[in-house]
């Protein structure tokens, strides 16, 4: 069985530690991830901005890279959901459409794969900290990954999960939105961080590095000491602590 890693361009270039944590965590269950290096980006920045031709060019690298994979796992609900858009993106292309549908079917977000496919919720981690969780919009709302991360965190010993007020509200990232509508986006991320501060959590955890980069950037800008982590990192660190 070939289980492949779709690392996403952002985790590849900026947050490699997230991909690494995922690889190590899965290896503990005998899942040996494969990494086809021909993958680049899912094409979401172009797709969301209306540049679908450009999105197809980028997306094809994934369709090719994961052609022989049985499962494709990614540390991002948003990029995984982008793959779910591929059948629409390649709707009028009889050659690429079947490949798009095949990739959609075998793609999983990290927490989704752990809980739905492996059937694991208790990874045996210890993490004695106050944690709050931001459910990213695309992963939770569009991909439907809502309960899985909570189930995983509930089993972590010592972890105190503090509910985030208005958790389901967007953090204001939205890809190019954060650049084009910088002030609206700024107002949104500012409010998100206000809510995080209310929880008095030591750690903010999530399933999407884009959102966490946005929120983390505002936290740092404001000199807040909250640690920002992907769930895979938290679990891997927790397993080591155990």
């Amino acid at each position: 069985m070939k289980v492949s890693m779709f690392v996403t361009c952002l985790s590849d270039a900026v947050f490699p530690r997230v991909g690494e944590a995922m690889v190590r965590l899965l290896a503990r269950y005998g899942v040996k991830l494969d990494f086809p290096p021909s993958q680049t980006c899912c094409g979401q920045p172009a797709y969301n901005s209306g540049y679908w031709e450009e999105a197809r060019t980028s997306g094809k690298t994934l369709l090719q890279a994961f052609e022989d994979s049985d499962f494709v796992i990614s540390p991002s609900g948003s990029c995984t959901h982008m793959i779910h858009n591929y059948p629409k993106l390649f709707e009028n292309d009889p050659v690429w459409l079947p490949r798009a549908k095949a990739l959609q079917e075998k793609s999983y977000e990290f927490a989704q794969f752990f809980v739905q496919v492996l059937g694991v919720t208790d990874v045996g981690a210890v993490f004695p900290h106050k944690v709050t969780y931001h459910p990213s919009c695309h992963g939770s709302r569009l991909l439907g990954v809502k309960d899985e991360p909570i189930a995983l965190m509930e089993q972590v010993k010592g972890l105190e999960l503090v509910p985030l007020p208005f958790a389901e509200d967007c953090c204001g990232f939205g890809g190019t939105f954060a650049v084009k509508m910088a002030d609206i986006s700024g107002a949104m991320v500012t409010e998100k961080v206000d809510h995080i501060k209310e929880t008095e959590a030591e750690v903010l955890v999530g399933l999407d590095m884009a959102c966490l980069m946005n929120i983390g950037g505002n936290l740092r800008h404001r000199g807040e000491k909250v640690r920002v982590m992907h769930l895979a990192e938290l679990l891997e660190e927790g397993v080591k602590l155990a």
């Binding site: 269950y29 540049y51 679908w52 499962f71 075998k106 695309h138 609206i184 700024g186 950037g217």
Partner: protein
């Protein structure tokens, strides 16, 4: 009283209009306060209902069916309404609808019109037109009345004065009263109630919108909380109802579904305080009602959506405002920033779609982070966040994309189309960022980072990317790999098997 035009000219771009709102603390506070109340009300109502998703799907099916057969149901509605003694008019454009309304006003020699529940008349700027022929138009929904006094336009589909707090309202009403009114909701509403009573009795025409038009009996249905729509439709001698051509539903049985979805989605109410069904003008045995009743069915760009695979579902909208109440962008910028009659996510899609001059409006599609809260909240499941992407795509395909962005996206495709070029770009980036990275982050407000870094510190490209790290990591993992548990292996194989059968069934088996 002058018509409903806003004071001053609005800035031309959504960005500039949003800036005005972002700097208006009163507005942001007021909008946040009310949208939070409305959305938590909806949440509670959904939970209490207990079977929300099924009813939502039923609502969607009714709307899909009606719009797919709109010609049939419109005909049925018009024939039945005429049989009830209603004068039915079809208006292709806003100008046609205005002309028809003014002709009626002139013929009955109207001096004043009392109005209720009509976003369509806002779309037509009808108050202005009435004013121009010397007919006074008075809004009688409390929020709409406040907005009219302020010389503004509604900033929310169902809460037109959502952006005002009670102190601002007290100031406006005190001017009318000629005395200082306390900023107390009861006192303010009491003043308006008394004032409007006189207007109801004087008015020659009652003008309303329409929440639903029932094809099987030619009836129109209004949902309201203040009782003013009932006054408007019973006191004046002439009634004019303006409705968008998509307001139709086939039957009263369908209304049960809509009456379940609309108030809960709008305000969290199980039912509005008043729900009126009106079937024709006053009959002999009736105690009240208009002697003459007109229904003006307005197209004004709606039929452009028919047959469009990406936008036809826009016509399913029941104007509940739920998408505005959950929208994190609307929450910060309010309704006026959208620039059109309809605001929030539905407005961002509807305004460009209804207008033939899309070029003037398509920038509002950018005022969304595509978080999908709107689609999730919609009681008839309109995929609004997808539609926003379609609007952006159509703009690009029409060759009207922003030049800088277009060049950027061409560059994106060139880099991302081949892993080799992507790798090279990362290396270049790492060299380039040396000039600006401090302590692992970038603070400098350079180029596209200007807006970003006003609120954040940007991260930098890692010293070693994942792909650069892969070979060593892979070797290390191989050396210490655990044996997979048999049950886990079985689960994975089962998933693979299911996938095969799903394919063979050819897309069946998806539950509701």
């Amino acid at each position: 009283m002058s018509g409903g035009a806003a004071t001053g000219t609005k800035p031309a771009t959504v960005k500039a209009r949003a800036d005005l709102a972002l700097n208006d603390e009163f507005l942001r506070k007021a909008v946040k306060y009310t949208t939070e109340k409305l959305r938590s009300g909806k949440k509670t109502a959904m939970e209490q209902h207990g079977n929300w998703e099924e009813w939502r799907e039923r609502g969607r099916q009714i709307r899909l069916h009606t719009i797919a057969h709109l010609d049939y149901y419109l005909n049925l509605f018009a024939n039945n309404a005429r049989a009830n003694g209603v004068h039915v008019h079809f208006a292709e454009s806003d100008a046609d609808a205005v002309r028809i309304s003014l002709e009626i006003a002139r013929r009955v020699e109207a001096k004043s019109v009392v109005k209720s529940k009509s976003m369509v008349t806002e779309e037509l700027h009808l108050n202005h037109a009435l004013d121009s022929i010397g007919v006074e138009a008075i809004e009688t929904d409390l929020g709409e009345y406040i907005i009219q006094l302020a010389g503004e336009t509604p900033s929310h589909i169902i809460i037109p004065a959502i952006h005002k707090n009670r102190y601002q309202v007290a100031d406006l009403l005190s001017e009318q009263a000629g005395e200082k009114l306390a900023p107390d909701t009861k006192i303010l509403a009491g003043f308006v109630r008394k004032k409007l009573r006189e207007k109801f009795l004087e008015a020659d025409i009652g003008m309303t919108g329409c929440n639903f038009a029932i094809a099987e009996t030619g009836s129109m249905v209004l949902f309201e909380n203040e009782g003013n729509a009932r006054m408007v439709t019973t006191v004046p001698r002439t009634q004019i109802t303006l409705m968008g051509m998509e307001r139709i539903i086939p039957s009263w049985a369908d209304l049960e579904v809509m009456a379940t979805l609309l108030p809960r989605s709008a305000t969290g109410q199980k039912l509005t305080v008043y729900m009126s069904g009106i079937t024709g003008p006053r009959r002999e045995a009736d105690g009240d009602g208009p002697e003459e009743m007109h229904i003006v069915i307005v197209d004004n760009g709606r039929s452009l959506q028919l047959g469009d695979p990406e936008f036809q579902e826009l016509l399913n909208c029941i104007r509940c405002g739920a998408c505005l109440n959950v929208c994190p962008v609307y929450r910060h910028i309010g309704g006026h920033a959208y620039g059109g009659t309809y605001s929030g996510p539905i407005g961002a899609v509807l305004t460009p779609a209804l207008k033939k001059n899309v070029a003037e409006w398509d920038d509002i599609a950018n005022a969304s982070s595509l978080c999908g809260a709107c689609s999730e909240a919609c009681p008839v499941k309109i995929p609004l966040h997808d539609m926003l992407v379609y609007l952006r795509r159509r703009k690009v395909e029409a060759g009207r994309g922003n030049a800088v962005e277009t060049a950027g996206m061409k560059g994106f495709a060139a880099v991302m189309g081949k892993a080799g070029r992507y790798k090279a770009a990362l290396k270049l980036g790492r060299i380039g960022q040396k000039l600006v990275v401090r302590d692992g982050g970038i603070k400098a407000k350079l180029g596209p980072l200007k807006g970003w870094n006003t609120y954040r510190i940007a991260p930098s490209i890692a010293k070693e990317t994942f792909r650069e790290r892969w070979t060593t990591l892979d070797q290390e993992i191989r050396a210490g790999l655990a044996e997979m548990a048999p049950d886990m292996k079985a689960r994975m194989e089962q998933k693979l098997k299911e996938r095969g059968t799903k394919g063979k069934e050819g897309g069946h088996g998806h539950g509701g």
